[in-house]
Symmetry: C2
Subunit: 245 residues, 2 copies
């Protein structure tokens, strides 16, 4: 499994991904699931992947390879004019890999499935995030749905739903994501540290820097250890349920 979240704030975009891949509990490894494509001053794009690792690695390799070709009309992620066009390109590439992996047709494709969160900004377009399905189609983030999750989405969702605020700072957004990821890690062995983080400041069009947060990070430890106590305090604030006799 995997856990990735892409979130849109007024200030920009925040992305977090875990790094555990596993084929059974006796075979797991640390693998990066977050990738960036950029042209400083022009575009800044992040891709996060969940699903079959052979599929997602092949998709990323194809996207990288094609971004280095020199032809005019090549399908390069670095030359699409809008984020919508990038989403179509990524969706087509993802679907192409899945179909190629399953010569027996769509029915056999299940085990090669993967999904993608794509986010970023190009030129004067708005910063945005897409959730791309294995079939290659996709949905875009809206004010009503201000974040997308892929992988093991359930354990970490309630805190996102209750605490997300579009006006929050990047620092608070990272704190929120760490709580959500920590709840997931505590409940699903196939999601694991370290976490990869990228932050994109609206309209900056700067390359994003990947920050890796590991288990020894003191703030992560304080959040992980403190959340239980904080939750208990929150719980005490609520009115008690009185049992009727």
């Amino acid at each position: 499994m995997t856990y990735c979240v892409g979130m849109r704030l007024d200030k920009g975009l925040v992305f977090m991904a875990d790094t555990r891949t596993s084929a059974g509990v006796d075979n797991f490894a640390v693998t990066r699931k977050m990738f960036s494509f950029e042209v400083p001053g022009e575009r800044s794009i992040v891709i996060m992947t969940a699903g079959n690792l052979a599929t997602t690695q092949a998709m990323i390799s194809l996207l990288e390879e094609r971004s280095k070709t020199t032809e005019e009309r090549d399908p390069s992620i670095l030359r699409q004019s809008t984020m919508f066009q990038v989403a179509r390109l990524v969706g087509d590439t993802l679907n192409e890999v899945i179909v190629n992996s399953s010569p027996n047709g769509q029915g056999a494709a299940d085990q090669f499935r993967a999904s993608v969160i794509l986010g970023g900004q190009i030129g004067t377009g708005k910063p945005t995030i897409f959730l791309i399905y294995p079939e290659g189609n996709f949905i875009e983030i809206t004010d009503d749905t201000p974040f997308f999750q892929i992988g093991e989405t359930k354990y970490g969702k309630p805190i996102l739903v209750r605490t997300y605020d579009r006006e929050m700072s990047f620092e608070d957004a990272v704190k929120l994501l760490l709580v959500s990821f920590d709840s997931t890690v505590k409940s699903n062995l196939s999601v694991g540290l370290p976490f990869d983080l990228m932050i994109y400041e609206r309209d900056s069009l700067n390359p994003m820097r990947l920050t890796r947060i590991d288990a020894t990070d003191s703030v992560y430890q304080a959040i992980s250890n403190g959340w239980g106590d904080a939750l208990k305090d929150a719980f005490l604030q609520l009115p008690s349920y009185t049992l009727k006799d």
Copy 2:
């Protein structure tokens, strides 16, 4: 889907179940999933069910019918001498219904699957809870695993893990379950109000009374509305993540 939790405290046992059954989002109804079997002063037993409704209703009907027969050696839930024996009986009955529903054998049984939480106390035995699988086998609660969930278990689990305390009062346990159920209801349409509640006081061997908590319950409303604010306060208590430049 469904959401049921059975929890053991030092003071006794607490059970909560939602009441929504659905066959697609366009066909849903309120159905009780919590049933009790008792002989005052001798035994007090609760069963909660998740899964195929035809299976669970048939299982409950068989258990009730057999508890009313007068033979000496009949498989009645009211005449087993220990909770372990009751768990075997319920497991066998559950598996019997599933196998009878699937004439084509085990492979076809998937759609008729159901699982059960069984809890209670008989005589001088300890109060305990079992989680019973569709195959008829089961596991028993321990101090390390002090609660069982069936159905849509993921959204409501983190708060249970972080806040459960074996010494908590029944009132606090019900409050905790309401928070867990509220998080689940907010994330999965197939779990819905009203909630059914039963509380068993250790060594009382009294019949349990079913309390139904519906959406108009003022304490539930205060908990549901207050939890978001309480979570935000908890979130503010945590240290901020400082972004490195």
